[in-house]
Symmetry: C2
Subunit: 140 residues, 2 copies
C-alpha cells in the first residue's frame, strides 16, 4: 500500500517515466487485493478523470510486466489479469458465484512437483494452481 510519491519512485526504479496514468495504476495495484483485468484499470482511470486510451493501458501493463513490477496470470477467462509481482508467486481461490478471488500464500505442492519432474524428465520452471468453488459468503 504505497502512496503517490512511492509509486513514482517505483516507476523510476524500473526505468519507466512517471506519467499520470502509470502513477494512478501503480496506486491501484498497491491497493488491490485481487488481480486486475485491463477493463478494470480503464474504468478506474476514468473515475479519477485521467484520460488514457485503451491501447495505452495495455501498453502500460505490458511495460509493468516486462519490467517485473507486475505478473500476468489467467483464471479460466478469455482475458489476462495482472497483480503485483512483489507479492510473490501464489495461488488463488475463485468463487464461481460472486467472482471473488482470494490469495493462497502457502504452496504445498513442492514434493508433488519434484516427483513429476523426475518421473517425466521435465524441468519445471513454474506452475499455476487455482481452486474453483463457492466462497463462504455465497454458501448462505
Amino acid at each position: 500500500m504505497l502512496n503517490k510519491h512511492d509509486c513514482k519512485s517505483e516507476l523510476n526504479d524500473a526505468q519507466l517515466r512517471a506519467t499520470p496514468a502509470r502513477i494512478a495504476l501503480m496506486e491501484l495495484f498497491e491497493n488491490s487485493l485481487e488481480p486486475l483485468d485491463v477493463q478494470t484499470m480503464i474504468d478506474y482511470l476514468q473515475k479519477r478523470n485521467i484520460t488514457a486510451d485503451n491501447a495505452t493501458v495495455f501498453r502500460i501493463v505490458n511495460a509493468f510486466t516486462q519490467k517485473g513490477l507486475t505478473r500476468q496470470i489467467q483464471l479460466h477467462e478469455n482475458k489476462f489479469r495482472y497483480e503485483l509481482a512483489a507479492r510473490g508467486e501464489h495461488h488463488h481461490l475463485i468463487c464461481n458465484v460472486c467472482g471473488k478471488i482470494e490469495d493462497i500464500s502457502d504452496c504445498k505442492i513442492e514434493d508433488f512437483q519434484d516427483e513429476i519432474s523426475k518421473k517425466k524428465k521435465f524441468v519445471i520452471k513454474s506452475h499455476a494452481l487455482e481452486f474453483y468453488g463457492t466462497c463462504n459468503n455465497c454458501q448462505k
Copy 2:
C-alpha cells in the same frame, strides 16, 4: 479410441444429432493425446474434406462441453482448448520450447485442497494445475 460407429452412439446418447463434422470431431478427440484448440479442429475437418464453417466448429465444441462430452481448459494462451471429459480431471505439463502438452494422471494435492477448504471456509468444486518448463526432448 472409438470408431465412427461408436462416435455416432456417443453423440446420440448426448442428445446431439450426428452430423459429419460432429462425428469427425469426436473421432479426432478420441484419438488425440493433447487438448485441442478450435483452429486444429478446423484444419482437421479440411483435411478430411468435411466442410464446416468456423462458427459451426465453435458451436460444436460448445455443445460437446455443455453436454459433458468435452471439458474446456486453458493453458495461459489467449484461447481455450478442449479435451475428452471421460478421461477425468487431470493436470498438464507444458513445454515452453516445443509446446508439447503431456497429461499427469495422478493428482497428489487432495490434502492441500482439504486444508485450504477448511481454513478459508471455501467449498472447492474443482481445481486447475499446470506445470510449465522444458520437456525431455528440448533439454538437449
